[in-house]
Amino acid sequence: MNIVTRKLIAKELYVNRWFVAGGAASGVISILLAATGKMGFNVGALTWLTAIIATGVMLGIYGVMNERKEHALQFVLSLPLSIADYVRAKMLGLSACFLVMWLVSSGAALLLVYWKESIPDGIAPYTVLLCLFMLANFMVVLCGSIHAQSEALTSAVIVVTNMGVSIFMFTVAPLPGIEKYMWGPTPVWTSTFWTVLGCELAVLVVAFTLPFFLAARRRDFL
């Protein structure tokens, strides 16, 4: 990876530092809130989801589009890099930004499940699946945003994938392999769990790698 790509990744982290820090802080605060009892749990869970979604949206839209909007794209493209290098830097940079926030928030969530006695450990597998879903969700948004030529298209991608969060919660939670053990005292890693996990990872990998083959080959970047 050449120095320009590395510098651009560092730039991405620098530029988006407030989103990342804010998102991570919101995630942690939400978890703390969720630890304060039943009411707190519902509110905290909701704000936790919102924080992750919001950070993902900001990075996915603003992070990708802001150079184009602010006419700084020509400046970046005049650097010694190819279009493929640029796409790579964007993908890696914005993914790194999200990962920081996501690791903190997911870690906090899992910590809550294992540490708080009033929350059954059996919910751990579902929590893992939910966390990973959020990551895959972001990756799809990022992938769509990088390929989309217009803001309208990007917004459509975001709306659709966020509907996916609700759909996920309503379809995965009631799955027999999940629901049965969700309220138990110990986590049970059923085959259903592994199947869903596998699907999520597959989506994640495809969404992450697609730009390296598609957008990177784009002939016209302006």
Partner: protein
């Protein structure tokens, strides 16, 4: 070993409402080329093609010996690109950009950069968002010049600049040419500047190169011939007349291939032969070119 700085051959690029067609262009080291044409002629498109930001549909492009767009990352190590619509990264200061460039380009000359900051009247602590158009142009020029690149590709580099700033920029560009291994290609609407500092001039109109060549020859070839015919006299048929205007007995001819022979052919009633400045040549050339192409 081919050492031209820019070579474009038969380049074609189709857009929905516009086509760049059969564009061929050459820039030698040690030269400065002025690239002129009306708005929408395809100047910016041509420059972006050279930088690999767009890919041609046909034709070849080589910049500093590298195939474009395939080897653009290597080529751009030694190319400085400035365009009037280019903006710096909005979140950062000019100082941040200078540091950014320093870390990417080993040839970055910090003391020259500092000199340019003063000369261009810029402030490193200023955030990119608050820069005016003219300041943006000067800032991006600074970032390009301080790297001392072998080739500078500039799209309207004097946009938004007051006369003093323009003079400073022109001086810096001419300083680049002290080194005969460096070259500049710049597009501009400022025909006065183009006429003054260019070694070669390329005219483009509606996606096609109209003419390209030595500036001094251009200025030598074009003339306005004034004729005052006495009653009953006529003007003989003359070759290479690009425009003819008659106002009673007063006839004005514009030619693009002037010679003393032509003047003699025109006869004894020629009152004056005037040189034309680049702006006048530009307009006459474009109009003539459109007429001959049936547009």
């Amino acid at each position: 070993m081919n050492d031209k700085h820019i070579e474009m051959r038969g380049v074609r690029k189709n857009f929905r409402f516009f086509t760049l067609d059969e564009v061929s262009l050459e820039l030698e080291p040690g030269q400065i080329m002025g690239f002129v044409g009306p708005n929408g002629a395809g100047k910016s498109t041509t420059l972006r093609l050279m930088m690999g930001m767009i890919t041609p549909d046909a034709g070849e492009i080589r910049v500093l010996g590298h195939e474009i767009p395939r080897a653009q990352a290597v080529a751009k190590r030694d190319i400085g690109f400035v365009s009037a619509e280019m903006r710096l990264l909005p979140h950062a200061t000019l100082g941040w950009h200078m540091e950014f460039m320093r870390s990417i380009y080993p040839e970055w000359d910090g003391s020259y950069a500092a000199t340019l900051v003063k000369r261009f009247n810029l402030r490193p602590a200023q955030n990119a968002r608050s820069l005016s158009l003219g300041e943006h142009v000067k800032a991006t020029l600074l970032l390009a010049l301080a790297r001392r690149p072998r080739l500078l590709i500039l799209d309207e580099p004097t946009t938004g600049l007051d006369p003093v700033a323009r003079h400073e920029v022109i001086s810096e560009l001419m300083d680049v040419l002290r080194d005969e291994s460096r070259s500049i290609l710049f597009s501009s609407h400022n025909t006065v500047d183009v006429e003054r500092i260019s070694d070669t001039i390329t005219f483009i109109d509606r996606g096609r190169i109209v003419e390209s060549g030595d500036k001094e020859q251009f200025l030598d070839r074009w003339r306005r011939i004034h004729v005052q015919l006495p009653p009953g006299a006529t003007l003989p048929e003359l070759p290479n007349i690009v425009k003819r205007e008659a106002d009673g007995h007063f006839i004005t001819l514009i030619t693009n291939q002037y010679s003393d022979g032509l003047k003699n052919l025109a006869g004894p009633h020629v009152t004056q032969v005037q040189r034309m400045n680049l702006e006048e040549i530009f307009v006459a050339n474009v109009v003539y070119n459109r007429e001959t192409r049936g547009q």
